[in-house]
């Protein structure tokens, strides 16, 4: 070999291309084309019904202007931000880590049982879990009201953001827990041992031994759950189309596109959302690159 051309497997360029093609084709058809289509729709006044469904007109950036000046859009974006901070960054991360941390120290049967139930929350189909929580939050015969003795409280309407934040924390904690369990497993026990011998308490161990080891895991986890939570649709199943005080971006797009029927406007908002997603991803990747030795 004269020089390293990166062709470790020795496939040769044509065969490598042949291998990659099917995957690229699928990505093209199901990801790239729809994205282009969305980009195009966002420039039109396309609607689900009415004249604009049959003869859509190009309106260029009107949809974007409408979105950015619309208080409903800004409201949804703000609520989504709160939702991400509340349910992903604080709720899932913190609960996930705490569970992982505590479970390290308990006996195996208890650990298995707890893990089973936490995972169950994550695995149950979202239509089922939202139905369960609908029953839990119900105003008249709800479990929560029965437990707390708060007869007649309509949680989803009187505490809309808290309701969906708690719900989504419950759903998503399992992922953070799993990720942190394996991260904590990678911390060398010898270092923890020496820290303990040197008289470090649990706080100091966390700060000086564990965090430096799992920093990149924290970043990865935060990136993933931020993106998921930013895009999540499930709370809509819980709140329905009319509960505007709990309306986050995915629900707002669904309502705008399919319930109100403004497909063009909905496409424009979707694109704004993709851009925000990309920004979040880029910021995290940057941070990740800087921190990793």
């Amino acid at each position: 070999m004269k020089h390293d051309d990166g062709d470790v497997a020795g496939l040769g360029r044509p065969r490598a291309v042949a291998f990659a093609l099917p995957a690229l084709a699928i990505i093209g058809v199901f990801l790239f084309l729809p994205a282009l289509w969305t980009l195009w729709l966002g420039l039109t006044n396309y609607r689900l019904t009415g004249t604009a469904a049959a003869h859509p007109k190009v309106v260029w950036f009107d949809n974007y202007r409408t979105a950015l000046t619309d208080h409903e859009f800004r409201g949804a974006l703000w609520r989504t931000t709160l939702f991400v901070i509340g349910s992903a960054l604080i709720g899932q991360s913190l609960f996930g880590f705490s569970l992982a941390w505590v479970l390290q120290r308990v006996r195996k049967p208890i650990r298995s049982v707890v893990e089973f139930f936490v995972l169950l929350a994550w695995i149950v189909p979202s239509s089922v879990s939202s139905f369960l929580w609908f029953a839990l939050y119900d105003r008249r015969n709800g479990t929560l009201n029965a437990l707390l003795g708060t007869k007649g409280t309509a949680w989803l309407i009187q505490y809309p953001m808290w309701s969906i934040v708690v719900f989504n924390t419950w759903v998503g904690t399992a992922f953070s827990m799993l990720l942190y369990r394996s991260a904590l497993g990678s911390v060398p026990p010898s270092q923890l041992e020496s820290a303990r011998l040197a008289g470090a308490g649990p706080g100091a161990q966390l700060r000086d031994v564990i965090f430096p080891h799992i920093r990149s895991h924290i970043l990865t986890n935060t990136l993933l759950i931020t993106l998921w939570t930013f895009n999540v649709f499930t709370p809509y199943l819980l709140t329905g189309p009319a509960n505007r005080k709990a309306e986050i971006m995915a629900g707002y797009i669904y309502r705008t596109s399919l319930r109100v029927g403004e497909l063009g406007q909905g496409a424009a908002i979707s694109l704004i959302m993709i851009v925000i997603n990309l920004i979040i991803a880029l910021v995290y990747l940057r941070v990740l690159r800087e921190r990793t030795p």
Binding site: T49, G50, A54, T66, G240, A242, N243, L258, G261
Partner: protein
Amino acid sequence: MLTATAALVAVAAGSASATTPGTSAGTAAGGTAAAPSGEAITISVTTNAISGGKNSAEADFFQNYVIPEFQKAEAAKGKNVTLQYQPNGVDDENYKTKQALDLKSGAGADLIGIDGIWYGEFADAGYIKPLDDIVGADTVKAWSGWAQIQPAVQALTSYNGKLYGIPAGTDGRVIYFNKDIFAKAGLPADWQPKSWDEILAAAKTIKEKVSDVIPLQWNAGSSMGEATTMQGVLPLLAGAGGQVFADGKWLGASQALKDVLGFYATVYGSDKLGDPILQQEAQGRDQSFEQFSKGQIAMLAEGDYFWRSVIEPKAGDFPMANRDTVVGWAKIPAMKPGSGIKGQDFVSMSGGGGYVINPNSKHAQEAWDLMTFLAEPDTIKALLNGAARITARDDVNSEVLSKDPFLSFVAKDVLPITAYRPAFAIYPQVSVALQEATDDILTGKSVDDAAKAYQDKVVQLAGADKVATSG
């Protein structure tokens, strides 16, 4: 005009025989040749009904009566047709989205039941086509039933002067009240308010004298969708002398609209006569049905659908065994006597739906057969199954309505004063803006802010020159 009172004007009943569905098949001018005799054909029909759920009786009627009888009727014509019923059991807005997506993608049932206000936007989108284009003008004209359907009722399934389907019926809106609760509060059993103030006064009396009862539930909020506009906003608006569309312009933030929103603010805000949270619940309308049927709501403004389908003693969604003795009804008063549209003292709103043939249907002729079959007196009477309902046909109405004191009241006293929604494609969007204005009131915004937000939305929808702006 409908003042002819669809129901009671004696039209030569009996002159329409039950069987003459159009021309004999085979020469449809619209280019859809009927299938040759004997060839197996399957067609489907869909409405928003499901056995054991929403509009259960209607779904059962399709399964148990329409399918066998229609197949028999087609067989008599030498056709081998299998009919399938596709049930739905969701709120009307979701049903509409589903039908629009089906029609858009070239799918969907052959015959589709839709609401009268959707014809415009579906037609503009090219999703549905005039009957003349689908089965041929001669075939359409030859159907004997048209003579029995008033022009105002035919308008429910028409758009821009063209018929898109056969209407299934019309309706009217009233205030229902629970006579037991009224008796406890010392209010009369033959209560009939003459102004909004009298409604509010009755509600206040109930609030003072009867505990654990919601005095008045007046549809509001976008959770209830079109029901909010139809049962809630529009009758009030008509009572304040306003119309959602008049003289070529859409309603803006007029005084009439502010009066309407002011009424809501009194009911749900300052005086707590109604439950604002119920109006925002995802299943709020069903909840209001259930609570009225259990005697927990004293007054509820609803359409006659509520009487015949919801609290119907046997087959209703929330049956009330003592409906006929406990439930009273009253006309919806104008804000003040004479302040209603056309100087009326009392007002109502009417709507209704019908069927439409899917333009993608491969068996349009059979779908037309089915549409006319559904509109024949025998079929309608089978659907009613001894009960009454304001049907689209004069001959059937004059026969059945006298059986039910409430529905003959609607036909005699309500339909002459009623009004219809404008048949424009953007009406449903204006309607959503009205619903959102009531949302604003439910969540505590001021009347002026809600009216202003509404006007901004309508200007965005229709253009400033098409809105009667003010404020």
